[in-house]
Every structure is written in structure tokens, then in C-alpha cells.
């Protein structure tokens, strides 16, 4: 074989290798979706889809009548996620803006690694904090007898989503071309005006993407909410009610459910709903990213 041909062969082999690796990610995603679908569809032989999505009672082991309604859990997940985003987004954007615009480089050197460490705290430890620290504090603050509720979950999830939001927002802010800020300052704008009216809008696509990714993290978090939200099955009426998210329900029940029963398939159906929700959130994030990128051009 000539040297030329050998080289060409090597190049194609390497191309195939990288292509396979790239495709693998898509295959895994499709595989997970297919598995969820395959394991969830048998549930709907016994459960009517309308009842599944609109009933507020989930009680598959009830001696009276087995009920498979997940509306309370969907709303619980949404309440806890919304709460966490409301808390995390202003703080996250603030820290990102601080790090990118205001902070002395020495402060940055310290704060940035600390934020990364925050991302590494195991979810059980955060859940533990929720039980022993935030729970009693929330109870005292709102005059309740206990702090195992959606607010507790929101605070903890905000702590867990913050590093994602801060990291990505800060990178977006840093990626804004310096000419924008220079132009704004040259035209007489103050530093605050430059930050709020020029830099942040310019970095908006990245900031919204960070918001969506943080939200995706919050939707999928299991252990923390399992420990700190009380796991009551009732339909939540506010942030101070004990709630049960879809993730904690799957974690609680999958260990003990006999295989291939309706209950078993129903849990996979919940997983499917969760998957669709997270997929949707990520898709919206992507759409935003592209929309603003196009505008930039």
C-alpha cells in the first residue's frame, strides 16, 4: 500500500471513529426515549390517559380503589421548580454580572472556584441541609409547625441550580464584544446603564439558556426533594404545603413495585412525562439561543 493510500485510510478511520462517537449520543437519547415509551405504554391498557393526567389522587396500593392520577405531582414539580427559578435567577444573574463586570480580578479568582464547588455538593447533603437548617428556619419564619414543604424544596433547588446559571451567564456576559461596552461608555452611559441596557441584552440568549438549563436541573432533581418536601400526596395549594414531585415518587416506589404490574408501568409513564418536560425545556432553550444568534447576524 502506498504511503498516500495508508494516510487516506487513516484519515477515514479517524473520521468514522469521531462520527460514531457523535452518533452515540443521539443513539443513547433515542434509546432512553424508546425504553421509556416501551415500558410506559402497557400502563395505558388499564389506566385511561385522561384519568392519568387530570386526576389528583395517586394511590396505587390503596385497598379501596387503586388510583393513578399524577396531576398533583405535576403541579408539585412545577411549583417547586418555579419557586427555585424565581429565587435562583436574580441571584445567579447578579453574581454573574458582578463577576464579569464589577469584581476585582482577585475576588474573581476566589469566587469562581467556590461557585464550581457549590455545583459539586452531593444532593443528599443539600437535602440534609434542608431538613436540619432550612426546615426549622422556614417553620419559624412563617409560623408553621414544620418546614417540610415546597418552599424548602425551592430554596434547596435554587442552591443546586445557581452554579449552572452563574457559570453560563458569566460566560455569556464575557463573550459580549468589548466594543459594545466601549461604545456605550463613550456615548456617556454610566457603568450601570452599560451593564443593564447594553451588555445583558447582548448576552440575553446565553442568559436565557442558562436559566433553562438551571430549570432542567431543578425539574430532574430527586434526592433533595425526596428528603425535604414531606412527600404528601395531596394537591398543593401554595408554597407552604407539603408536596410530592414526580421524581421523588418514582424514587420512593420503584424499589418495591412488583415487576410488570400496572403500578410498575405507571411509574415508567411518570418517567416519560418527566422526560418530555425536560426535553421540552431544553428545546425551548435551544430555540432561544438560535433566535438571538440569528438576530446577531
Amino acid at each position: 500500500m502506498t504511503k498516500q493510500r495508508l494516510r487516506k485510510l487513516k484519515e477515514s478511520a479517524i473520521q468514522v471513529f469521531f462520527f460514531t462517537n457523535g452518533i452515540l449520543a443521539i443513539i443513547v437519547l433515542i434509546g432512553i426515549f424508546a425504553l421509556l415509551l416501551y415500558s410506559a405504554v402497557p400502563a395505558f391498557r388499564e389506566i385511561r390517559i385522561k384519568e392519568f393526567l387530570t386526576s389528583v389522587t395517586w394511590d396505587p396500593t390503596s385497598p379501596v380503589k387503586a388510583e393513578y392520577g399524577i396531576l398533583s405531582m405535576i403541579v408539585s414539580t412545577l411549583i417547586v421548580t418555579a419557586g427555585s427559578v424565581i429565587i435562583a435567577f436574580p441571584i445567579g444573574l447578579g453574581v454573574a454580572a458582578y463577576l464579569s463586570d464589577v469584581a476585582h480580578w482577585r475576588v474573581r479568582e476566589v469566587v469562581k472556584p467556590v461557585v464550581e464547588i457549590l455545583a459539586g455538593i452531593p444532593s443528599v447533603v443539600v437535602g440534609f441541609l434542608g431538613i436540619v437548617l432550612f426546615g426549622p428556619a422556614i417553620a419559624k419564619l412563617f409560623g408553621r409547625t414544620n418546614g417540610l414543604n415546597a418552599l424548602n424544596g425551592s430554596v434547596l433547588l435554587a442552591i443546586m441550580a445557581l452554579p449552572t446559571i452563574i457559570s453560563i451567564s458569566e460566560d455569556s456576559l464575557n463573550a459580549v464584544p468589548p466594543v459594545y461596552s466601549e461604545a456605550s461608555l463613550a456615548l456617556g452611559g454610566s457603568r450601570w446603564q452599560t451593564l443593564v441596557r447594553v451588555k445583558i441584552p447582548a448576552a440575553l440568549s446565553g442568559i436565557i439558556a442558562s436559566f433553562m438549563l438551571g430549570m432542567g436541573r431543578a425539574i430532574g432533581e430527586t434526592m433533595t426533594v425526596l428528603m425535604a418536601t414531606g412527600n404528601a400526596r395531596s394537591f398543593p395549594h401554595g408554597l407552604l404545603d407539603s408536596v410530592r414531585t414526580m421524581t421523588s415518587n418514582i424514587a420512593i416506589e420503584l424499589g418495591e413495585v412488583p415487576y410488570y404490574t400496572t403500578h410498575y408501568y405507571a411509574l415508567f409513564a411518570i418517567g416519560l412525562v418527566l422526560f418530555i418536560m425536560t426535553f421540552g425545556v431544553n428545546l425551548i432553550a435551544d430555540v432561544f439561543l438560535r433566535k438571538y444568534q440569528e438576530r446577531e447576524q
Binding site: 385497598p63 398533583s72 417540610l148 412527600n231 404528601a232 400526596r233 407539603s242 424499589g255
Partner: protein, 303 residues
Amino acid sequence: MFYAKFKKAIAIAEIVLAFIFAPILLAQKKMIQVKGSDTMINLVQILAEEYMAKNPKSPIAVLGGGSGTGITALINGTCDICDTSRDWKDKEFSLAWEKGIKPRLFAIAVDGLSIIVNEKNPLTRLTMDQVGAIYRGDVKNWKTVGGPDMPISLYGRQSNSGTYTFLQEHVLNNKNYSPDMKEMNGNAQIIEGVKADEGSIGYVGVGYVIDKATAKPMKGLKVLDITKDAKSEAYSPMDKGAVDSGKYPIARPLWQATNGKPSADEAAFILFELGPEGQKIVEGEGFYTIGAKYIEANAKNLK
């Protein structure tokens, strides 16, 4: 340059660790896997530790997960012995026999299921009906049952728990639990919840209620006396006589189940648990020793 050396060091460390762990993993004798009830997990762990101290060649691994999880594990063949704090249901027996598993049950201890409230609650007793009504959600305020004017904060277990199922069958008369009940992950979490919450009520195994240092109920909570109905006497779950004689209305045996006749190793462990040393540990953990009728039934099942 630095990173290259670093990567090399990591690679060498990984290879060395693999060589250290591989023989350990390969040389593992088959462990007896015990899974199931959270009520029994502390008790069985201590029994297993004492047994292994005397028989180092017989390793035993004790896990929790709840009685439901234990039963599922025995049926699926992922454990050797399963702990349950409730009886097996008929459909669980059917499922087991379908899969070729023949469960044999051994009662290793007796538990007086304790209803606990926060120590600030002035109540001292409740009837079975009242407990049922409270946990069904029919009664929502303490003043309805003679307590202070405060909403009742319910703490319970999750559906994989034998204690959850036992209470549902025997106290709630097979009706649904209140959807507002906070479903905690285990007995210990219920204890912590009740200690911190003034309007709370919870149910735990009596072994968890006793503070081992003082042999009295833990600080922060109060154990209620339960009466069968409004006219009967009230008995405490900490009263051994009441639990043994059946006067305490919510006493229950704690079971272990094997698949068919227990193997030599499993039988040795079960005999240890049922023997004088094992039963002494049972008492030390706050539970009660088994009575004559269970001793007889156990002996039969060992054959």
C-alpha cells in the same frame, strides 16, 4: 509537562488499585443478603454483627428498603432472607408461587407499634378508632380528640413500608390514608419530624422510641397509650405484659422469610436470632421476645 506526569501517576494508581481490589472481590464468599423492613433494620444489623463476630466465615449483608421492597426482592431472587414487619398478602404469596418461590416465615421478635406525638402535646391516650380517623384525614384538629386547638400534622411511612400497610389494615380498616400525610423515608425520619413539630403525630416501631441510654422514651416525644375502644383500658406499647398478652391492640410479630427450607448458613443465622443470645439482643433493642406459639411455628418451619 506537569499534566503528562500527573496523568501517568493516575494511570499507575488505577492499575495498582485494580490489583488490590480484584482478589478481594474474587475471594468473597457468598454473602447472605437480607433485605426489607426499615422497622427491623437496626435490630437485624446488630444481630448480624454479633453473629458474624462469632462466625467470621459467614458474611451477612443487611439492607433496608421497606417490607414491600424486601418481599419483591425475595420473589425476584435478589435476596436470601427478607424482613417484613407485616404479614404477606395473598397476592404476594400467589406471585411468589407463580415464580417458583416458596416463602417460609419465621417470627424473630414482637413489636408494639407506637403512636407518638410531640412532648408539648398534653394528650396521653387515644382509642384505635380515633387513631384511624386521624390517619384517614377525618379528624383534622387536635381539639376534636381532646387536645389543644392546633391542626394535626400527620407523619407516616411510604407505601413500601410494612408498618404503613399494617396500620392501614388494622387501624384504618383498609381505607385510604389522608393525602396530607407526610410520607417519610423511615422510622428515624418520623422520629425527627415529630420531635420538631408541635402538632405532629407519627407511628414507629417501639424499638425506635426507647432511648437506649436511659431505657425511657426519647426526649422530645411522647408515646400515647392506646385503648381498643372508649370503654377499655389503655395500654402502653412499652408494657411488655400488655404486648405479649395481646391487650395492647396494635402489637405485631416481626417476620423473616426464606425461599423454601433455609440453607445451612441461613438456618444457622436464624437459629442464632431465635436463641437466647439473639432474643437478648431483641430486648436490648427495645422490641419483645417471641412467645410460645411463634417458637413452635418457627421450629416447624426450620425442618
